[in-house]
């Protein structure tokens, strides 16, 4: 309300109440005069208190509403007028003030109606106007018991009974409305916070008494004017006290403001800030929040972070700032929002204390933060005094000690907890020797904790000194390395195991880096022994230096491949011993990771020198056997030819000669000779076949071409032949001949072929390839006794390869490949 309006209202009030007082003073009426006098007094009190309230709290509507009640109440004084119209008008409007009163009380203390209360105010308006108007229409003396009063100017009909009924009806309605208001006020009081109760309590109290009294009076009045008068008088008295109670509330606020001086004193005496402020504001529920600039969050006085919003529910927040930055917040009862000045004054008074508390809260917040870190850190942290007693420690110490109770650790000597009995005396001695400087130190100790588990802790200690430089505490930080030690031990065992295995097996093991340089301890015993070098000599040298020059490139490629993560297939290389001997080694290169996590190449090999030599010896031996067999066959064939065949041929000629010399009459003898010569011819033929099977002489004398041409001539199926004219070593020629002969024999026996082809050619690499191909039924299996398996020996003895392809229905291809410069040639 503006000052101008307030001044106008006060002027109007003075005029109205001037008139009212005049009427009261001059009226000659009896009881009504007293009643109206009381009403006037009450109205005057409302007017004066309302004016004061409006001046004190211009932003609150309560003062203005109270002033309105007071002004409207003055209208009732018209009932003292002598003229019937003014009397009746005063009677009809005497209750209008209750409309403003209802609005006042329902909206107290904010001055704004609660949602849903508007209709109640409208009903009151209807009741207080329509009720008296109705009575004035049917009752010539609307004020019961006032015989001196003028008659109703609005009288339409004189119906005393009706008037009474109307009075009772409106009285009951008024009682219902009053009950509704009553219930609302009681509910609001019960729901109010203590500070709010202190504000609304007295006002509600007098209002409720007045309501009960007025309703009762209204009802009683119809039946007993005297009693009704007395009750109404008392109710009005209570009503008049209501503004007084309101004023007392304002005064109390003023007193609270005066209490700020007490606040200053309380703070000076070291009273907790929150308690002092709660007292000063009359709000025991007060809470304080402090702005932590470090954490950029609101914290409580213990440094605990508060969640936003910091004010909720019944609490409102008043923020305290210094230099434009937030310092603290008062979380107080919402009812104190109405007393902004008080809250601000209190906040301003305590601002210095707030800053101090804020800093403390921030320190506590930091402390809590550090405490949390220390308690959640896996490291052991303990503070020991200069006597060796544990004074502070974190949770990790509890865990490591096996003592889950702080009381069992605090104050005890650290060696009682962390040092095994056998080492305790030595530790105590060392501790005392370190006194008084207690220089920083590091050590590792093993002890059995309270649960019987062996633990290993790596400690670091540092002294804490006071301002004089004297050591007052020793801080010990430890890491529980039990598991790490266990893993190291396990790893060491594994390593020892692997080393033992590596040094026991006969295979060679060499570990190199990506550049094929042998790493420390990178060769096993078998390798060192075989190649005449020690691990120390090998470390840092290139593995490739151990490889013979011809094999070095391939070895370098293998190491590089493994270094790129690709395991290398087994290969054979020649490695050199320290004294220059060659060893043939079958080896692989495999990527591995060493225990330190470095990528390495594992060279693993086996010495196959002896095996290779034995293989060569076997092969040479086989070749010699084949060659010897061939020689024996040749010799036998030659012997047959030179011996028996010649003699039999000569014998045949002799028989022919004898036959020619027989006289014509010796027919019988001729027949005998002819028969003998025929037998001889047969024997010669069989002998020839035998000799031919032993060894084709033409092969020795004329080579493969003539020998094979003679061979195919005897084949029962057509054979196409393509054979070079040149000569080859006898073993190769023999192998080629026998492969062809055996293959063609098989063709004749099994293949059901229409044609066969023999092709012998020298390849670019100098190998002789013998191929015998037919178009027969196929399905030949060299392992099934087809005579081919003997040829395998013959071909392989010459370092050659023998293969048969014979798909069912797809013909047969026999193929032998024989190098012309085999590693081992028959002697």
């Amino acid at each position: 309300m503006t000052r101008r309006r307030l001044a106008a209202a006060v002027g109007l009030g003075a005029m109205l109440y001037g008139g009212a007082i005049y009427l009261v003073a001059t009226a000659e009426l009896g009881e009504p005069r007293a009643l109206i006098a009381m009403i006037t007094v009450a109205g005057l009190i409302f007017t004066v208190v309302g004016t004061i309230a409006a001046l004190q709290r211009p932003d609150n509507r309560t003062g203005a509403q109270m002033l309105a009640v007071g002004l409207l109440w003055s209208v009732g004084a018209l009932q003292l007028a002598e003229r019937p119209f003014w009397f009746t008008l005063g009677y009809v409007l005497s209750g209008v003030a209750f409309v403003a009163f209802a609005h006042l009380i329902l909206s107290y203390p904010t001055g704004r109606l609660h949602p849903g209360d508007e209709w109640l105010v409208w009903i009151v308006l209807a009741l207080v106007t329509l009720g008296p108007l109705a009575v004035s229409l049917v009752d010539p003396t609307p004020i019961p018991g006032c015989d001196d009063c003028p008659q109703s100017a609005f009288l339409v009909t004189d119906r005393p009974g009706l008037a009474q009924a109307v009075g009772v009806a409106f009285g009951l309605l008024a009682a219902s409305v009053a009950a509704a208001v009553f219930v609302r006020l009681v509910r609001r009081f019960r729901a109010a916070s203590p500070p709010l109760r202190r504000v609304i309590g007295p006002v509600y109290f007098f209002t409720l008494i007045a309501l009960v009294g007025l309703v009762t009076a209204n009802l009683v009045w119809t039946f007993d004017a005297g009693a009704g008068f007395a009750i109404e008088l008392a109710a009005l008295g209570a009503l008049a006290l209501m503004p007084i109670a309101f004023l007392a509330g304002i005064l109390r606020t003023r007193l609270q403001r005066a209490g700020i001086a007490d606040l200053v004193i309380a703070l000076g005496n070291g009273r907790p800030l929150r308690d002092a402020l709660a007292d000063a504001l009359g709000d025991p529920s007060l809470q304080l929040a402090y702005w932590s600039s470090q954490r950029q969050a609101w914290v409580d006085d213990e440094g605990r972070t508060l969640k936003d919003p910091i004010a909720r529910g019944a609490h409102a927040a008043t923020f305290v700032e210094q230099g434009g930055r937030p310092v603290a917040a008062l979380l107080h009862d919402r009812s104190l929002a109405d007393q902004r000045g008080l809250v601000d004054a209190v906040a301003a008074t305590a601002s210095l204390a707030f800053e101090k508390e804020r800093l403390q809260a921030e320190l506590r917040a930091q402390y809590r933060f550090l405490e949390t870190i220390i308690d959640t850190a896996p490291s052991l942290l303990s503070v020991v005094d200069t006597e060796g007693r544990i004074r502070n420690f974190n949770r990790a110490v509890e865990v490591a000690s096996g003592l889950r109770d702080r009381a069992r650790i605090e104050g005890r000597y650290f060696w009682e907890i962390f040092i095994d009995p056998v080492e305790r005396e030595a530790m105590i001695q060392r501790f005392h020797e370190a006194s008084p400087a207690f220089p920083a130190s590091e050590y590792e100790n093993v002890f059995t904790d309270a649960l019987g588990n062996e633990r290993v802790i790596a400690w670091k200690t540092a002294p804490l000194v006071d301002q004089n430089g004297d050591v007052v505490r020793i801080v010990a930080g430890g890491i529980d390395i039990t598991d790490r030690k266990r893993r190291e031990l396990e790893l060491q065992r594994q390593w020892d195991f692997a080393t033992t295995v590596a040094n026991t097996i006969p295979s060679f093991i060499v570990i190199t880096d990506h550049d094929a340089v042998v790493v420390k301890e990178g060769a096993n015993r078998a390798f060192c022994d075989a190649f005449g070098r020690t691990e120390e000599e090998l470390e840092g040298t290139s593995f490739l230096e151990l490889v013979a020059r011809d094999d070095e490139f391939a070895a370098r490629m293998a190491i590089a491949g493994a270094a790129n993560g690709v395991p290398q297939a087994e290969r054979e290389s020649c490695w050199l011993t320290l004294d220059g001997r060659e060893r043939t080694v079958a080896w692989t290169a495999t990527p591995i990771t060493d225990p330190s996590g470095n990528a390495r190449v594992l060279v693993s090999g086996a010495d196959i020198t002896d095996r290779k030599r034995q293989e060569a010896e076997v092969r040479a031996s086989r070749s010699r056997i084949v060659a010897a067999t061939d020689a024996a066959r040749r010799r036998l064939e030659r012997n047959l030819h030179d011996g028996a065949q010649q003699r039999l041929a000569a014998l045949s000629l002799s028989l022919r000669l004898a036959e020619s010399r027989l006289p014509a009459e010796a027919a019988e003898a001729r027949e005998i000779l002819v028969a003998a010569r025929a037998e001889l011819t047969q024997a010669l033929e069989e002998l020839r076949e035998l000799a031919r099977g032993l060894h084709p002489n033409v092969l020795t004398d004329r080579g493969l071409g003539p020998a094979l041409e003679a061979l195919v001539l005897r084949s029962p199926i057509p054979v196409e032949i393509d054979v070079p004219d040149e000569r080859f070593p006898p073993a190769i020629e023999a192998a080629a001949y026998y492969v062809t002969a055996e293959a063609l024999a098989n063709v004749a026996k099994y293949a059901e072929a229409s044609v066969a082809e023999v092709r012998i050619a020298e390849e670019d690499d100098g190998a002789i390839v013998i191929e015998v191909v037919d178009d027969g039924v196929g399905g030949a299996d060299p392992a099934r006794g087809s005579g081919l398996e003997g040829l395998v020996d013959r071909v392989e003895s010459l370092d050659g390869a023998f293969a048969v392809e014979s798909p069912a229905g797809g013909g047969t291809r026999v193929r032998a490949t024989i190098p012309t410069s085999p590693r081992v040639l028959p002697l």
Binding site: Q645, L648, A649, A650, L653, R688, V698, R702, E709, A710
Partner: protein, 117 residues
């Protein structure tokens, strides 16, 4: 006329040479000489100039084909003999320049005569 056909028998086996001489002479050939190896054959051919040479294929120093290769343009007619069959020598015989081949056991003067021009 047959007496005028001179023949040189070349074979490393004396028993065959003896039988061949007897048989051929019985059949009317004039066996003018004998040789027991390739070199001897070449010498005797040059010296005796026989009309026919009965030449064994298998000789100690060289075979009969090699002897044939070394003969000059005015060569006697050569009949190859062997205790083996002609098929054992396949095309060699045809390409050798010899008049033909007779298995030793089948040797007769008639057989030789059949091969001569």
């Amino acid at each position: 006329m047959d007496k005028s056909v001179t023949i040189l028998v070349v074979d490393d086996h004396p028993s065959f040479r003896r039988c061949a001489r007897a048989l051929l002479e019985a059949d009317g050939f004039a066996v003018v000489g004998e040789a027991e190896d390739g070199a001897g054959a070449l010498t005797e051919i040059g010296r005796l100039q026989p009309d026919v040479v009965l030449l064994d294929v298998q000789l100690p120093d060289m075979d009969g084909f090699a002897v044939l290769e070394q003969l000059g343009p005015d060569t006697p007619q050569v009949v190859l003999v062997s205790s083996r069959e002609a098929s054992d020598y396949n095309g060699l015989i045809g390409a050798s320049g010899a008049r033909g081949f007779i298995a030793k056991a089948e040797l007769t003067g008639a057989a030789v005569r059949l091969l001569l021009r």
